[in-house]
């Protein structure tokens, strides 16, 4: 039937820039996420380089204190929100539908919207560099340093508004994956037959859905304080800066589990594949993930042990924080149990997974030491915490992500990454990471505070800092090797075939790269580690499976059409947020631009709703969100 959007033809191209801009294909969106996130990873890595070079020697004057503050703020903000989270999203996007036997996610246009909103939010925050008003109050921007009299200029506004846009992107993606995983699994895939990566994605998405609204409120309150003179965190008006900390960390703690659970999911897939043994204690690992997700809400004030909450509060959070180490430890034992008695194949994905386990244990141990509030009183705001953060996020999340890249690269491109370069990449990163961050444990316990732009020789921190800065170059080399490997392999990598690792997941049953429709026929899942069951049975019966699912003509399978409404709506969201950066001297409406953004977003949503999900109407479900 005629739609309002018939006036402008629905985009239909399959190649070229326009096809990427209007794509709703989860595989393309996954690639967009991955490439974009990696670029911000590199940028944040450069910022880390500036930090380490400034701190390499005492009394250094490489950058001013103000620029240093901007560096550590943007390094952390970019790494967390624009590198690790979207790289996780890249995998969710590409792999989840394949892993559950679906042809796409539940809401393909919402998926595209979340990518464009992510890109626009990231660009918004980084525009601060262009106008030289960069956020500089730390990635957690504690009030009331962030209030107008102390942080003049637009830096904090860029941070708060950009983060709001990024938050919308994360929420949109999370909503999509919760529904996709709950509702689009192939027949036979009960919840307890889902691959671990799918489980961890589900838990992560639920955490996102529940945690982001809290930071949204915090950011709204901060923005209102800065723009409208409210008193949320302004003590002179009766407000309390501690409220910001509570709102931030109620979000912030689940956020760190959002950062680590996907990597744990990846490791839980890689280890069984390269040990040629099923995951040890699958139900227990699932249950531990769920427990981590739930308990993650009960520990946030361990970030506030030194704020003066009192001995009762501190004790309660000490206990809950120590308890949350238990399910993590359980997972580690299960991973070790998986490898025990297995036939280990030390390919690059496996090396990264093993590196994850080793380094995450170190990070977890330092974490337990800060769980205890009296010892945290010494460690808080020192480099000991910086060490912990980087062991769990670099040694944990990043290692896990790299494991996933090497593991799923053949599926996405049809080629294998080079093993020699891969091993070099791993060892450079593993060694470099330890050289850079292990000394920080000692620096912290010897009293070096965080977020200082320089120090004098009197403290005796000199050579450890120099060592840490030297480690940066090893890391740099590791990342460079990765890039070389990636680019070489995309072009000339050895052809991988559909199942190079003899892996158990559904995604390996189809061709590499997958056809646009993913599965020609909807699979019937026969058990946990489905593909292993199918392959082993086939071999036992003398009919081994030698190829992927047979290719069919894509025209015979209806896939969602491309659409430009997602990017239009995302643009509206961008204008709405960015509009608050420009104040007009008008009497009643100081910020008119957000209204324009709202109208664009509204038009986008309207067009989106009225556009049918398919060119021919399906059972009368026209309006689609």
């Amino acid at each position: 039937m005629a739609t309002a959007t018939d006036v402008i033809a629905r985009p239909a191209s399959a190649s070229g820039l326009w096809s990427w801009i209007t794509t709703v294909d989860h595989k393309r969106i996954g690639i967009l996420y991955g490439v974009t996130a990696f670029m911000f990873f590199l940028l944040a890595g450069v910022e880390a380089g500036v930090i380490r070079m400034q701190l390499a020697v005492p009394d250094n004057t490489l950058v001013s204190p103000d620029v240093f503050n901007q560096m550590f703020t943007m390094h952390a903000t970019a790494m967390i929100f624009m590198a690790i989270m979207p790289m996780g999203a890249a995998f969710f996007n590409y792999i989840i539908p394949l892993a559950i036997g679906a042809r796409d996610v539940a809401f393909p246009r919402l998926n595209a919207f979340s990518y464009w909103t992510f890109l626009f939010g990231a660009l918004l925050i980084h525009t601060s560099f262009v106008v030289q008003q960069v956020p500089d109050a730390g990635w957690f921007s504690y009030a009331n340093l962030t209030e107008k009299p102390f942080s003049t200029g637009l830096g904090i506004d860029f941070w708060a508004l950009g983060l709001q846009v990024l938050g919308v992107a994360s929420l949109a993606a999370a909503f999509n994956f919760v529904v996709t995983i709950i509702n689009m699994r192939a027949p036979g895939m009960s919840l307890m037959r889902m691959p671990l990566f799918v489980w961890m994605t589900l838990i992560t998405s639920i955490l996102l859905v529940l945690a982001f609204p809290v930071i949204t409120v915090g950011l709204i309150e901060l923005t209102f304080d800065r723009l409208f003179g409210t008193n949320f965190f302004n003590t002179a008006g009766g407000g309390d800066p501690i409220l910001w900390q509570h709102l931030f960390w109620v979000f912030g703690h689940p956020e760190v589990y959002i950062l680590i659970l996907p990597a744990m999911g990846i490791v839980s897939e890689v280890l069984p594949t390269f040990s040629k043994k099923p995951l040890f204690g699958y139900p227990v690992v699932v249950f531990s993930g769920i427990v981590i997700g739930i308990m993650g809400w009960m520990v946030w004030s361990h970030h506030m042990f030194t704020v003066g909450l009192g001995p009762v509060a501190n004790s309660v959070f000490t206990i809950t924080t120590m308890l949350i180490a238990v399910p993590t430890g359980v997972k580690i034992f299960n991973w070790i149990g998986t490898m025990w008695g297995g036939s280990i194949d030390f390919k690059t994905p496996m090396l990264f997974a093993l590196g994850f386990i080793a380094l995450f244990i170190v990070g977890g141990l330092s974490g337990v030491s800060h769980a205890v509030s009296p010892s945290d009183a010494q460690q808080q705001d020192t480099y000991y915490i910086v060490a912990h953060i980087h062991y769990v996020l670099f040694g944990g999340s990043i290692m896990g992500i790299f494991s996933g890249i090497y593991y799923w690269f053949p599926k996405m491109t049809g080629r294998l990454m080079n093993e020699g370069l891969g091993k070099l990449n791993f060892w450079l990163m593993f060694v470099g990471m330890n050289i850079t961050f292990f000394p920080m444990h000692f620096l912290g316990l010897n009293g070096m505070p965080r977020r200082i732009y320089t120090y004098t020789s009197d403290y005796g921190w000199d050579w450890l800092n120099l060592l840490a800065s030297a480690g940066y170059f090893v890391l740099f080399a590791g990342v460079a090797v990765f890039l070389i490997n990636f680019i070489k392999s995309v072009k000339n990598g050895q052809v991988s075939g559909h199942d190079p690792w003899d892996a158990p997941g559904l995604e390996w049953t189809i061709a590499s790269p997958p056809p646009v429709y993913n599965f020609a026929k909807v699979p019937q899942v026969v058990g946990l580690d489905h593909y292993w069951l199918v392959k082993r049975r086939a071999e036992a019966e003398g009919n081994p499976i030698t190829g992927p699912e047979a290719y069919v003509d894509p025209e015979t399978i209806h896939m969602p059409n491309t659409s430009y409404w997602p990017i239009v709506t995302a643009f509206g969201a961008l204008v709405l947020a960015a509009g608050f950066l420009v104040e007009f001297p008008w009497p009643y409406i100081k910020f008119p631009i957000p209204f324009i953004g709202g109208i664009i977003a509204f038009i986008g949503v309207l067009g989106w709703s009225l556009e049918p999900a398919a060119p021919e109407a399906h059972h009368g479900s026209e309006a689609h969100h």
């Binding site: 002179a236 009766g238 009192g310």
Partner: protein
Amino acid sequence: MSTHPPEHHESRHPTFKQYATIAIILFAITAVEFLIIVPEGLKGSGVVIAPLVALSAVKFAIVIMFYMHLKFDNRLLGSVFLTGLVLAFMAGGAVLALFGSFQPTPREFAAANAVAYTHLVEGDGHEEVELEHPVHEITSDGGTEMVVEEPTGGADLVAQGQAIFTGSGGCLACHAVEGIASGMLGPDLTHIGTDAATRKPETSAHDYITESIKEPEAFVATDVERANPGIMTSALTSSLSDADVEALVDFLLAQK
């Protein structure tokens, strides 16, 4: 009071009558809530909180279960919604508890001693911002002074002194007076009214306390717990007017 409308079994769609009944029940509950707080004595009293919350919870549940149809829908939907709802209550409740129960908030001290933003040192890159309601004024010699009305003198100097002790004077940050302040940095002043006479030879309690406020470095008592030289300086008390000091001394002399 019955809150159960007629059961509907096969029909997924209740009748107009059933919905109307539910609507009337909701109205009735709202009316009862309104009537509860009509009596003057009950307005804002603690005793109505529980009934009001309970009635609202009932309305909440009725709308969710019947209007939003959750009672008859797939249980997964209910679990999904309940997760967010329960978490919101528990996290919100925890934040409230952390703000109230365990420790008096530092808000009073902060509000009393919040430094006006016009006080910031020039030349360090920060703009000066004028507060509409300045807490301090810049005095002619560049220092700052609390914008404080002169005490009206006479009546209840002790109470004024207490207000300054716990307020603009900031003494409570370091000193303790049982039941009034619990500072842990300096000496406990709970019985300073009697002790002061014995501290400095040939100095009256009144004079000793006055000197301790105006010129703390002049004399530091030995063998008094937490009486350490160099911590309390006259700079800390320079903004107090003579009348303030008078009131403080009166207050402290009353701590026997």
